[in-house]
């Protein structure tokens, strides 16, 4: 038989399908299943039930087809199904702030892109994932096995199993039911090392800037360099900054260590619940609940300290400083610079509160007296015959007086407690190692002392029992500071 008149088979390169080909000159009346079976067997193709069914269909189609070559797939294999690698589906989008975007001056890849409708703060884009105990951080999907395939000749096609997940974590993370990854501590999720963990300290190796965004954290923060203008670092525990803090906002629930100094340019702000230790403070507004220790100078600052101020080698120059505790400095004020104002013996957060409470109490006492007077007047004027209107008013008065009294009963112990607390913190005392410059203003007990001439240290300024400031030089008896100052009433 001519080769061109013989049935042919063709197996695809991957072995997953085989075609039967009826040549142009083949006598299709001879096309029977047995012939096809024989051709397939000769080619090594497995004769499965499906293949036999396809052969029958093939013959019917071939005989109905117009003249010419006819071919169709008459055997199919099964491709191997590879297993899926183990992986973690993180659910961090709900926990973390949006990922950092290109810097504001970086050109957008799509110049025609519409601007976002919501204004975006590039400062608020943080790269740190802050988590809380119990947060579900992700779900583990374990590796799945592969399933082998089979080609048309019946040969096995090997599959590949998924790679096992290598997820290591410490005790700050737990894998719970349903392979959920659950935070066991508050802090920052760290996936950078070999072992996933939650750290109670954020460590920033560089500056806090557009690369990090603002930091708001429930633990401690260590910044190896500085904090750039307009950024905020807020931590529930301590903050340590090795470089310069610029016109930034720093809020520490614990201590703040500004080892590289703080140059606030009148926009920098520090709020510290613990102690503040700084190399220097320049044009910074700060509130410190603990002590303030400064290595060099506090210059043009607005400073409020509930503890003591210790800067034995430094100076307070310009600005306004209020301290409840003892102040120890080398120098107060400076020549030719703006006035340095230091208020001592004041408890900055309690004194205004005491004043406010005192005003409220006076007002309440006044109101109560008016009501009592009205009550007495009605009772006296009506005598035995009290009208219905009087009875109603008496009822109202009774309750109004009781209500005022309730407020007084709450306010009076509060003011006593605030006064007691304030007295415990109050220390009107300054130790100056070198000198107090002219024009330095000291405010204490409602009096304002403007120093006329330089006072050479070491000296001690303190409040005497009569509410007057005294100055005492080393070894000498104390003298009235008013003799060396212009005295006035404090505003």
């Amino acid at each position: 038989m001519d080769d061109r008149c013989e049935l042919k088979t063709k197996i695809s390169q991957d072995g997953l399908s085989a075609r039967l080909i009826v040549p142009h000159d083949f006598d299709r009346s001879k096309l029977v299943p047995e012939l096809c079976d024989a051709m397939l067997m000769r080619a090594g193709i497995e004769l499965t039930t499906d293949t036999k069914k396809l052969i029958k269909e093939f013959i019917a189609k071939a005989q109905a087809a117009p003249e010419g070559e006819f071919s169709e797939v008459i055997a199919r294999g099964t491709a191997p199904s590879h297993g899926e690698d183990g992986h973690i589906e993180w659910h961090l989008d709900k926990l973390q702030q949006p990922e950092s975007e290109p810097l504001p001056d970086t050109p957008s890849p799509d110049a025609n892109a519409k601007p976002a409708e919501e204004p975006v703060s590039f400062y608020d884009r943080s790269v740190f994932t802050v988590v809380k105990t119990g947060d579900v951080l992700g779900t583990i999907h374990h590796a799945t096995p592969g399933q082998d395939g089979r080609d048309v000749t019946g040969k096995n096609l090997a599959s590949r199993d998924g790679k096992a997940l290598d997820f290591k974590y410490d005790e700050s993370i737990m894998v719970g039911r349903g392979y959920k990854i659950i935070a066991q501590a508050d802090g920052m999720l760290d996936l950078s090392g070999k072992m996933a963990c939650i750290r109670d300290t954020i460590e920033v190796d560089n500056y806090v800037d557009f690369n990090t965004g603002n930091i708001r954290f429930n633990g401690s923060v260590v910044i190896r360099k500085g904090i750039r203008d307009c950024f905020t670092v807020e931590a529930e525990k301590d903050i340590e900054v090795h470089g310069l803090i610029e016109a930034a906002t720093v809020i520490a629930g614990g201590d703040l260590r500004a080892l590289g100094g703080f140059a606030g340019r009148n926009s920098g702000m520090a709020s510290v619940r613990g102690n503040l230790h700084a190399k220097y403070l320049d044009a910074v507004k700060s509130k410190v609940r603990g002590d303030l220790q400064v290595d060099r100078e506090i210059i043009n600052c607005n400073t409020m300290v509930l503890g003591k101020i210790a800067s034995p080698q430094g100076a307070i120059i310009g600005g306004e400083t209020k301290s409840a505790g003892v102040i120890e400095v080398a120098e107060l004020g400076a020549e030719g610079l703006p006035i340095t104002t230091v208020q001592i013996g004041t408890v900055p957060h309690l004194d205004p509160l005491i004043h406010k409470l005192s005003t409220i109490i006076s007002r309440l006492v006044e109101i109560r007296q008016k009501l009592v007077d009205e009550q007495e007047l009605i009772q006296k004027s009506s005598g035995a015959r009290v009208t219905n209107a009087h009875k109603e008013r008496l009822c109202e008065l009774m309750y109004e007086i009781a209500e005022v009294q309730t407020h007084l009963d709450r306010a009076e112990p509060s003011i006593e407690s605030a006064k007691e607390k304030a007295e415990g913190m109050r220390a009107a005392e300054i130790y100056v190692g070198k000198k107090v410059h002219p024009n330095t203003v000291l405010i204490c007990s409602g009096l304002r002392y403007r120093i006329k001439n330089e006072l050479r240290g070491p000296l001690r300024i303190f409040l005497d029992g009569k509410g007057q400031l005294q100055v005492q030089y080393d070894g000498a008896p104390p003298a009235m500071l008013a003799r060396q100052a212009e005295l006035g009433e404090a505003a």
Binding site: N388, K391, E392, L394, C395, E396, M398, Y399, E400
Partner: protein, 123 residues
């Protein structure tokens, strides 16, 4: 429990509200006179009413009569300066369940409320 306070004096209503809140009643509605109260009872559906006697537009006694004639069954405590026996009898005949004479103390009002609710629940 829903309580409707009917009194022309805002101070008195506030006093009553304070006492009722302390007693744990939180669903409170106010009306400034009998007419105002009549317009509110339908929607509010009070389960207890504290009603002043002397009010402009419609006094407490007229309100009580109208409320009862419209089928209102909620207990009513009259809060009044009218302590005369004949007046009290008149109020009770009109459908008042109990009364408190002004000036009253929080304890007295609280006692009257409890007493009235217990009495009505038992009936």
């Amino acid at each position: 429990m829903k309580v409707l306070l009917v009194d022309d004096s805002k101070t008195m209503r506030n006093i009553q509200k304070g006492i009722l809140t302390q007693l744990g009643y939180t669903q409170l509605e106010e009306a400034a006179d009998g007419l105002d109260a009549l317009s509110k009872v339908g929607a509010f559906g009070p389960q207890l009413l504290l009603v002043d006697w002397n009010m402009p537009n419609m006094d407490g006694l007229t309100f009580v009569k109208k409320f009862r004639s419209q089928g209102g069954t909620a207990p009513i405590i009259m809060v009044t300066t009218e302590a005369e026996k004949s007046r009290v009898v008149e109020a009770i005949k009109a459908g008042v369940n109990n009364y408190v004479v002004k000036p009253f103390t929080p304890d007295v009002l609280s006692e009257r409320i409890k007493e009235t609710l217990e009495r009505c629940a038992a009936a």
